[in-house]
């Protein structure tokens, strides 16, 4: 092994000595012991590395970060494990049977804008990190949304037919197809869900958003008279309200 090769390997040797027993470094370390010049270089290298590590260890995260992580995880925690228990499964079966029986007698109630918002929130919590928002075919509509003047709900002109042709992500909520487009506005990411107006009953007058949310996950739903929308973000209620000019 040449001196350069030994230096190359030893550059990955951690200064706290945790790699001392790793056979990967054995030959290079042995060479450093027998070569004074290499030994001197290694000592300087280790001293410098140790000091940089020490300084790096002085970087302290923001105070609220830990609580924010824990709260965020709680908000997004999947609940399905609970439903896997036999007791819950049995209860769920009974509930379904009862619902079916009652449903035969009662007229079904159409889902509302609020239902769309809640479902969109759940979708973001469950799938937000999963899907790839970087579809080239959607770049145009994403760009338009990113530049759309606020408040966001005014003059939105999104064509669901075009979204379908552009292979936009679609999910089913309460039996209805809903498209979802991710876009960044300012420093935050948002997810716009678009549904046919008749599929979700209005919870408020046309053009009036209804807000729902939990911790950092926030959503607003509204209708513009043609379509029903839900805008969701995990950047917090303030970031969401910003989009509505409040």
């Amino acid at each position: 092994m040449t001196t350069q090769e030994a230096k190359f390997l030893l550059s990955a040797y951690r200064p706290d000595g945790r790699d001392a027993a790793d056979p990967f470094f054995a030959e290079a370390l042995a060479q450093a012991r027998s070569d004074p010049e290499l030994a001197a270089w290694f000592a300087r290298e280790q001293a410098m590395d140790a000091r940089i590590s020490e300084r790096l260890g002085g970087i302290v995260p923001p105070q609220a970060l830990r609580e924010s992580i824990l709260a965020g995880a709680r908000a997004s925690q999947p609940r399905r494990e609970r439903w896997l228990s036999p007791v819950w499964l049995a209860a769920a079966c009974i509930a379904i049977l009862l619902s079916a029986a009652i449903g035969m007698r009662l007229r079904s109630t159409a889902p509302t804008e609020s239902d769309l918002a809640q479902s969109a929130l759940r979708d973001l919590a469950e799938e937000g990190a999963e899907h790839d928002p970087n579809l080239p075919s959607l770049a145009s509509v994403q760009g338009e949304l990113s530049r759309h003047p606020l408040p966001i709900y005014r003059n939105l002109n999104i064509d669901p037919v075009q979204l379908r042709q552009d292979h936009c992500r679609a999910i089913t909520i309460a039996g209805h197809q809903v498209f979802e487009v991710c876009f960044k506005h300012g420093e935050s990411w948002y997810h716009l869900y678009i549904a046919r107006m008749g599929d979700f009953a209005p919870s408020a007058p046309v053009g009036t958003p209804t807000f729902v949310g939990q911790n950092l996950f926030a959503a607003a739903a509204w209708t513009d008279g043609q379509r029903t929308y839900a805008l969701v973000t995990d950047a917090g209620p303030a970031a969401l309200r910003l989009m509505f000019g409040s």
């Binding site: 230096k7 992580i69 824990l70 965020g72």
Partner: protein
Amino acid sequence: MAPGLPHKMQEEVFAQLVDSHYTGLYRYALSLAKSSSDASDLTQQTFFVWAKKGHTLRDLNKAKTWLFTTLYREFLRDKRLSGRVTAIEDLSPREQEFPSAEPDPMARLDSQMVMEALQEVDPVFRAPLTLFYLQELSYQEIANALEIPIGTVMSRLSRGKAELRAYLARRAKGGKVIDFPNAQGQRP
């Protein structure tokens, strides 16, 4: 979080995981993202992904590497979305000799300056370099976290250290700090 465990226990396990690693992850994220808010977002997003997918990891001893891997992937994903990712192939070779240690550039530098210096290192070298200085992961674990061969880790560490120390040396001397442009002439 960890299906199969009672809910309360899951939360405790998760909290322990957060306590053990969020500081290191934040430091790593800060070196990559260059802003405290983006670093916080990256760290939070990493644990969010863990909360959703962590149960797929069979060996909890690998949680640390998994978290650092995930954070780096999330960082790259954000970079791709903002169209600022630098392909490794685009980088010009910049092997540099370790500048003279006189005067000792570290003597007057504090944590913030070290972080700023790390942030100046080309991102391709910055990721393994920060992981190395965090001392949380071995060279093998760094290779796993970044999904690159061990030899590439060594090479990037070597070149990253050269960049970092050149920057620190210039800064210590009070000279003008010149950006390292990438092959496209843009800061990453």
